[in-house]
């Protein structure tokens, strides 16, 4: 796990700002022209989004295993740690791609780390996409909790 993580981080860091897909996702969620800085925290990194002097929010990219492929997603929060949106950046499996549909992702909006975000309760599932639905929900929950904790501790500001 640790080795895999280190390997991933080693190859994943992109010098000189976020990759195009992440940048496009940030622009969609926070509006065009927002300034993006990469903050290094512990073992990961967080994107801080701001315009002029005001903080618009934070975003982070996570990976979670679906049936047999990783699903790469982005979680964006506003300055009060409320979830703005979830974006599926790369979906690699032939089934379960419905998690990228807006009506499903929309269910996460406005949630905070205090919400339990359980499939079948706060988050409705999609038949035939059960594995991906559970995987992405767990992934979003963890990234949201991590961002909230880092923000509360002042690790990101």
């Amino acid at each position: 796990m640790k080795r895999a993580l280190a390997l991933l981080l080693l190859t994943a860091q992109t010098p000189g700002g976020p990759p195009a897909k992440v940048a496009a996702s940030i622009a969609r969620l926070f509006g065009p022209g927002a300034r993006v800085d990469t903050l290094q925290v512990d073992s990961g990194s967080v994107l801080r989004v701001s315009r002029a002097d005001s903080l618009l929010g934070f975003a982070a990219v996570g990976n979670v295993l679906g049936k047999d492929q990783p699903i790469t997603f982005l979680v964006a929060v506003d300055p009060t740690d409320r979830l703005k949106d979830v974006d599926i950046l790369v979906y690699r499996e032939p089934y379960g791609g419905e998690v990228a549909y807006e009506p499903w992702r929309r269910q996460f909006r406005g949630k905070s780390a205090r919400d339990s975000l359980r499939v079948g309760k706060e988050i409705r599932s999609i038949s035939g996409a059960t594995i991906s639905v559970h995987a992405v929900t767990i992934g979003v929950r963890r990234v949201l909790a991590q961002l909230t904790a880092w923000h509360a501790s002042g690790a990101i500001r």
């Binding site: 796990m1 895999a4 993580l5 991933l8 981080l9 190859t11 994943a12 860091q13 992109t14 976020p18 990759p19 897909k21 992440v22 990469t38 512990d42 073992s43 990961g44 990194s45 967080v46 994107l47 982070a60 990219v61 990976n63 979670v64 295993l65 049936k67 047999d68 492929q69 990783p70 790469t72 979680v75 790369v90 979906y91 032939p94 089934y95 791609g97 419905e98 990228a100 549909y101 009506p103 499903w104 359980r118 499939v119 079948g120 309760k121 988050i123 409705r124 599932s125 999609i126 038949s127 035939g128 996409a129 059960t130 559970h134 995987a135 767990i138 992934g139 963890r142 991590q146 961002l147």
Partner: protein
């Protein structure tokens, strides 16, 4: 979560701005299975326990686009020469090439995308110990054949997904009165490719909703000119529609299908069968999670369900066949499914097996456990 062999278990990576994971070969192992207890009513029908299915899912990614996926199944626990029962079979084995998000090319032993259970057959995904009778006698699950095709989602967030395949055909010599097209399947074993057939599906999804339509069309004559000639000789045409709804505590699903065997008369004359010229039916199932009433905070589920199936493998018969009304089946199943997690299930149900002739009817009490990972 599945296990990545050689990588250990990884669930969520720490947040990091990564667009595409490095191209890396990796092997994934998963599986599903179910154990059944069945106790039919009546004398001299002792209860039977059976390890109905044990399936290993094995997948390997060669790079970011090319992957192999398979399911190897052992049915009824054991296979031994000279003894009845038992089967070892590949349920799926294919290569996927992901061209883009909206299209993945696939070739190998694939599942015709017909109905609900054929593609999504892991025991925790359906209520009832046994699969519905309809998914045995009308849609012959687990149906798999060899061919090529494409799967994907229609771009633009429309909620539409499709699958389409060209595969080997069914064989007329396996068609029967009671099980319809079931034994006409070739299942990837030295299959005749004399009658390439088309199958496909279009489905639409929203959170909690999925609606789909499926088809199969292809000849069955193989090379027997007494049954039919040409690629589409003695065709089987299948149309099916299905719907699933799930709002948390309440869930329902429904499937209907109609299968036309237009040259049933020639098939019957050649093989001495009483195959119907039309096979049709469906089922409707409703379920409610009782834990919503007793333990609303729980993430476990205790689904009480009722399912009613009506199907007839001789909905129409060709000249020379007298309809056997006992084939017009009406099966009602009531039961519960306890799911401590979304991918494990403990099941119990009671099935009332009825038919239009009122002959050979019975009841079965069943218990079962199932898992997938």
């Amino acid at each position: 979560m599945r296990t990545l062999v050689g990588w250990g278990l990884f669930a969520v990576m720490a947040p990091c701005p990564v667009r595409v994971l490095p191209a890396q070969e990796r092997t994934t192992v998963g599986g599903y299975g179910e154990v059944h207890y069945a106790n039919p009513t009546g004398p001299k029908t002792p209860p039977v326990v059976n390890l109905a299915r044990f399936v290993v899912y094995l997948a390997h990614s060669f790079d970011d686009r090319l992957a192999f996926r398979s399911e190897l199944e052992v049915e009824d626990a054991k296979l031994e020469g000279g003894r009845p029962g038992g089967e070892v079979a590949l349920e799926q084995a294919y290569l996927d090439y992901r061209v883009a998000g909206w299209i993945t090319l696939r070739t190998g032993l694939v599942l015709p995308p017909v109905g609900i259970v054929n593609e999504t057959h892991e025991p925790p995904t359906f209520n009832g110990v046994e699969r519905p009778g309809f998914d045995h006698d009308v849609i012959p699950t687990t149906w798999r054949e060899i061919g090529v095709g494409a799967v994907g989602t229609v771009p633009g967030g429309s909620g539409l997904a499709y699958r389409v395949y060209l595969v080997n055909g069914l064989r007329a010599d396996g068609l029967s009165a009671g099980e319809g097209i079931r034994e006409g399947r070739q299942e990837g074993r030295q299959a005749s490719f004399a009658n390439p057939s088309m199958t496909g599906r279009l489905e639409w999804a929203r959170p909690g909703v999925k609606i789909g339509g499926s088809f199969w069309y292809g000849g069955t004559a193989d090379t027997n000119s007494a049954v039919g000639t040409g690629t589409f000789g003695a065709p089987v045409a299948l149309l099916s529609a299905d719907a699933r709804y799930d709002n948390g505590p309440f869930a329902m699903r429904a499937v209907v299908a109609t299968i036309s065997v237009s040259d049933a008369e020639a098939i019957n004359a050649t093989y001495g069968q009483s195959v119907g010229s039309r096979i049709a039916g469906g089922y409707l199932e409703g379920a409610y999670d009782l834990l919503r009433l007793f333990a609303p905070a729980s993430s476990q589920k205790l689904n009480a369900f009722v399912r009613h199936e009506r199907y007839d493998t001789q909905a129409s018969v060709p000249a020379g066949v007298t309809r056997d009304r006992s084939l017009a089946r009406r099966i009602t199943t009531v039961g519960v499914t306890y799911k401590p997690t979304w991918n494990t299930a403990f099941k119990g149900d009671y099935r009332l097996l009825r038919n239009a002739a009122g002959a050979g009817e019975g009841e079965v009490l069943s218990l079962g456990v199932g898992y997938q990972f």
